[in-house]
Symmetry: C2
Subunit: 338 residues, 2 copies
DNA sequence: TACTGGCACTCCATACTTCCGAGTGCCAAG
DNA sequence: CTTGGCACTCGGAAGTATGGAGTGCCAGTA
């Protein structure tokens, strides 16, 4: 169906269009790439490629532009991920290793990725449910109030205020704290509900209402904060590329947590380290002219969350994929080390 | 110099230009506002206003447009803050009161303000230095590591990992924790350095290196996190108004923490509840076509931080100021109550 | 003195026209 | 299957009208 030369032509069209942002014609293709054939032959190939839906012309008598399907083929079969330069990798490393807490790691990562790719970067906070409990702390802050602090192995800290049904003594708090930590140390967040199921039985009858209040807030925290937090950076880079009409739509999508979640969330195949979603493959209508390049990151073989880059469908996929992959790896390392 | 009618003309020009986004001429002014004089008279007044620098014409034979100076006069002397409707106030109240921690309060506030004004909202986290210590917690997380958690009266929680010079016993940790809380309870964050100055003397000689490590991290936290955190929302609203060229510059400014800080930070006079900075009055070159409407918020008479709105100089100042003032008040209330 | 109507003038925005050339599809020949 | 030639298409740039909103000025009026 598509012989090697036609594929080469498609690749050339994508590359030229990405770099010039102008529909590319048979003549300039023949000039810039040595395909060894004349423009007329290329025209024939282009006609076939168009018929099959890989490219299209904005108007009759204009050059060709890749379609989403064309980019898809390019990404899947015609390109290879482009590794970062040594200098870039060093820059990533030094930049990320200066971070001193989880917020800082995520903040630096998202800015770094935006700068590296000159596009919009999106980073999801390490998922609560996939990490484990490192420590639980209970702190009395007022007569009827406790502060519950939950610390995970990824350095994430969640805090919630608990209203207790009655005054609670230091002693009771200490007891509860000890119990909680015994039950939960190293426990996966998903297993917390089971792990604390029989905890009320272990406390004095008098303290059970308090224990119940604490547990209810604890469980609530796990549900509500369920890997919802996502940040982005680099919106200014959107202004550079011409989104004309849809810029507003894109910005709106970026400000919707839910949309962002779906954007990164619905993974493609997991065979590759980096997944790409192109144009209308995206779940959101407003993002029909954008592509998303995303990857998992985590500690060891444990996936914690995802990060990625959003840009025009007309983007430099090999380089972007390289940057995303590299940053994902380094973030994993940083998180493992801290 | 400027009699009442000329001021009325200026006010009318600002109002019309804000609502139509088109240079306004003498004829339409006479039609839409009953100033009781003919267009010719208005023309004379406009000539004077232009000479004094309050308005300008984009080209000969076009209508007039207010200058920054014109807007300034309008804001200072020709307009009054427009209170929100009862429905809007109810909406604010219900929306904000659903928040369950500081992050959530700030996040809701910034989205609320963006939606209310249809512009970009900016909210600074309650300043660390202006709040007081509610509790300090020390938690061993590994043999050579402690986690320091600092909780303030505004519900802000800072955590940092401390690398200790040697293993630390539970007992030592407990002792240190007790000492810290005794020294610091209710202490303004600015006074922390003094309050802990003599703390090392109170611990056993063996523990002094550990105490020193803890204190150094504690002080570091106060310095580094020094009210630096700022968030914004509503960038999509920028796309609606025509910033053409400078949209990129504005987005860039928004992503720079430092610029945002300066934007809210350098207050004007404190006589009014709401301060306005117009066009070139802004510290950043990229924001020369934008105005910022900002206000302090806090608990009681204690100012904690600022929040505000950023939009085109051509904005509806009375309504925007009303929204900013109202939101600032409600946030204060919410923080006080939690 | 302050205001008004009239008038000539300016000049932007819009619409219309022209024109160039890059690019195409097709065809006959190699 | 590939190639050069050729007629055709059509978008975009550049140039050309034209209409109308707006101005400044001036002489006349209250």
């Amino acid at each position: 169906m598509l012989d090697d030369r036609k594929l080469a032509v498609l690749r050339a069209i994508v590359e030229d269009y990405v770099s010039t942002n102008e529909p590319v014609g048979s003549k300039s293709l023949a000039d810039r790439h040595n395909l060894g054939v004349s423009p007329a032959t290329i025209r024939n190939d282009m006609a076939v490629l168009e018929e099959q839906g890989y490219i299209t012309q904005p108007h009759t008598s204009a050059g060709r532009v890749p379609t989403d399907k064309g980019y898809r083929l390019f990404v899947d079969r015609l390109s290879t991920i482009k590794p970062l330069s040594a200098a870039e990798r060093r820059a990533i490393e030094t930049f990320l290793s200066g971070a001193y807490d989880l917020d800082d790691v995520v903040g630096r990562t998202v800015r770094l990725l935006a700068q590296l790719t000159r596009q919009v970067a999106v980073v999801q906070y390490p998922s609560l449910t996939r990490s484990t409990v490192r420590h639980v702390e209970l702190v009395p802050v007022a007569s009827h109030r406790l502060l519950l602090v939950l610390i995970t192995n990824t350095g994430r800290v969640e805090q919630r205020v608990i209203e207790t049904p009655r005054d609670v003594s230091e002693e009771t708090v200490g007891h509860l704290r000890a119990l909680l930590n015994t039950c939960l140390d190293g426990c996966g967040l998903g297993e917390v509900p089971n792990a604390v199921a029989d905890l009320p039985e272990k406390v004095a009858v008098d303290d059970r209402p308090v224990a119940a209040a604490v547990l209810s807030v604890l469980l609530e925290t796990l549900v509500e904060k369920h890997d919802e937090k996502i940040v982005f950076a680099g919106a200014a880079n959107l202004a550079a590329v011409d989104f004309s009409q849809s810029l507003r739509e894109v910005l709106e999508a970026l400000e919707e947590q839910v949309v962002l979640m779906r954007l990164l969330g619905e993974v493609g195949d997991s065979s590759s380290s980096v997944t790409v979603r192109i144009g209308t493959e995206n779940p959101d209508e407003g993002l029909r002219f954008t592509s998303v390049v995303a990857a998992d990151y985590g500690v060891g073989d444990r996936t914690l969350a995802r990060l990625g880059v959003l840009g025009p469908t007309r983007m430099d996929y090999p380089s972007t994929m390289g940057a995303v992959r590299a940053v994902a790896r380094y973030v994993g390392q940083i998180l493992a080390g801290s």
